[in-house]
Symmetry: C2
Subunit: 269 residues, 2 copies
Amino acid sequence: MSTADDNPIPEPGAAPPPGRGGRASAAGSALEKSLRILEAVATPGGPHRLTDLTAAAAVPKSSTFRILASLIEQGFVRPEADSRYAPGPRLRALAALVGAGEPADVERILDELRRATGQTVHLALHTGESLTYIRKLESDQPFRTASRVGMRMPLHTTAIGKAVLAHLPAEEVRELIAATGLPGRTPRSLTTPQALRAELEAVRARGFAVDDEENEPTIRCVGAPVLGPGGRPVGGVSVTTVTFLVSREQIETYAPALRAATEALAPLL
Amino acid sequence: MSTADDNPIPEPGAAPPPGRGGRASAAGSALEKSLRILEAVATPGGPHRLTDLTAAAAVPKSSTFRILASLIEQGFVRPEADSRYAPGPRLRALAALVGAGEPADVERILDELRRATGQTVHLALHTGESLTYIRKLESDQPFRTASRVGMRMPLHTTAIGKAVLAHLPAEEVRELIAATGLPGRTPRSLTTPQALRAELEAVRARGFAVDDEENEPTIRCVGAPVLGPGGRPVGGVSVTTVTFLVSREQIETYAPALRAATEALAPLL
DNA sequence: ATACCAAGTTCCACTAAGTGGAACACCGGG
DNA sequence: CCCGGTGTTCCACTTAGTGGAACTTGGTAT
């Protein structure tokens, strides 16, 4: 029951192959490591063990230990009884301040979408080169999708991610591709810049994206972006289904409700 | 309209008098500064300017600048148009993860208390040696109290603070007094360990605390603690009034509604 | 009992990383 | 045109962070 490392996104700065000291992409300062550890601590799934944090944050054990000690001293992490670590009061206060944007309405809007479609609904934020799921509402179905709040996913293989990419300046998309490449996650993943760019064009035209088993086999999603001030995508919402229950045509019928949700969300996020 | 430095709590490690290098209380590592800057950035009141952040976090200008650059690179801070700084996507994602407890209900409970009393209501978290206000609901009165979300206050001069202290192990209270002293904020502040300890005893017996112009002249509050798992106080709620409208006797009549609120809050926080 | 393994904790020589004062650049008033 | 306040850059100094390895602890399979 390890709680960490079900995360498909390799952390930046993880495993810099020794030798070949060609500058490459700067590995990691104290701050960077500390922040990754903080995120790991905040990950849902109870208080975490040192080893899991080490793995999740991709920071050497002794460094993780030392940094945790600092974070504890600062009140950002609270040591639990059996050498497990949980978010501390100061982190919670920080979170409360940041999350001051009416979260009640957010929940209401997402739940409306869930009821309208009867399917699993996800809300994710665009975090750098990846997507972070911050809310998940389960479908009425007896199935549970494997996704979890706190999980990170690539942009180019998910419906939300493609919706976000479609509304990003072309230049930024280019940089992203250069930085991360386009690793495939299933046989259907788009793995060439050409294919992806064509897809993004289509997404932009339609106003929503479809992930047809490009991220996980048997999983099919529709996603739309939430656009912040200036039209910049800050994240997105998706409706997730299993392929043997909802056809490609059917899933597109969710699009109007989805769009309504993301538009309502825009001023709140 | 500067946004910073209306904070009565001197940051730990601020202004370590040079000379006299007597070890004292370790001043501030990179991490510590970075976290204070992050908190400053998250403080409500629009995107902040460099100078304000520098002041609020008590970090030299050039260091603030450099650290901000790192935080931006990490996606924890977003640079706004005119060299102002706002919380970045990764910080927002982090906040969303931590604040997973149903904020809708929290809001509802606090609003109920506000309507029941007609007065200003505060929710604060216990953050180390201080209290951080994380929610404020204004009264119906035409007056506005000066308190602000994000503000920090001492424990020993506020109703919430005393309520928290009263439910902390005696040993911890002792350490706190040793660490911070008991600086007075008004003529009525309790500034001796004896006076404070007697007061805490009374608070514990009553189940709520009263601040009778001990923190600000003309301000009178009742406060009760929110107890987390294991009976540990994680924060508290207060009802705030002005002395010329509500007498000392009157304000105690709010206690039952207050207690009801804090008890309802306990499982949510 | 004993041996083994995995997790947590401590140590330490090495050096990158962070430090902050001061100089510089920029801008909008007075 | 000059001035005060702010954002930005520079750089010589040294502190604070680094992570491999050794040590400790506790559980469990033999």
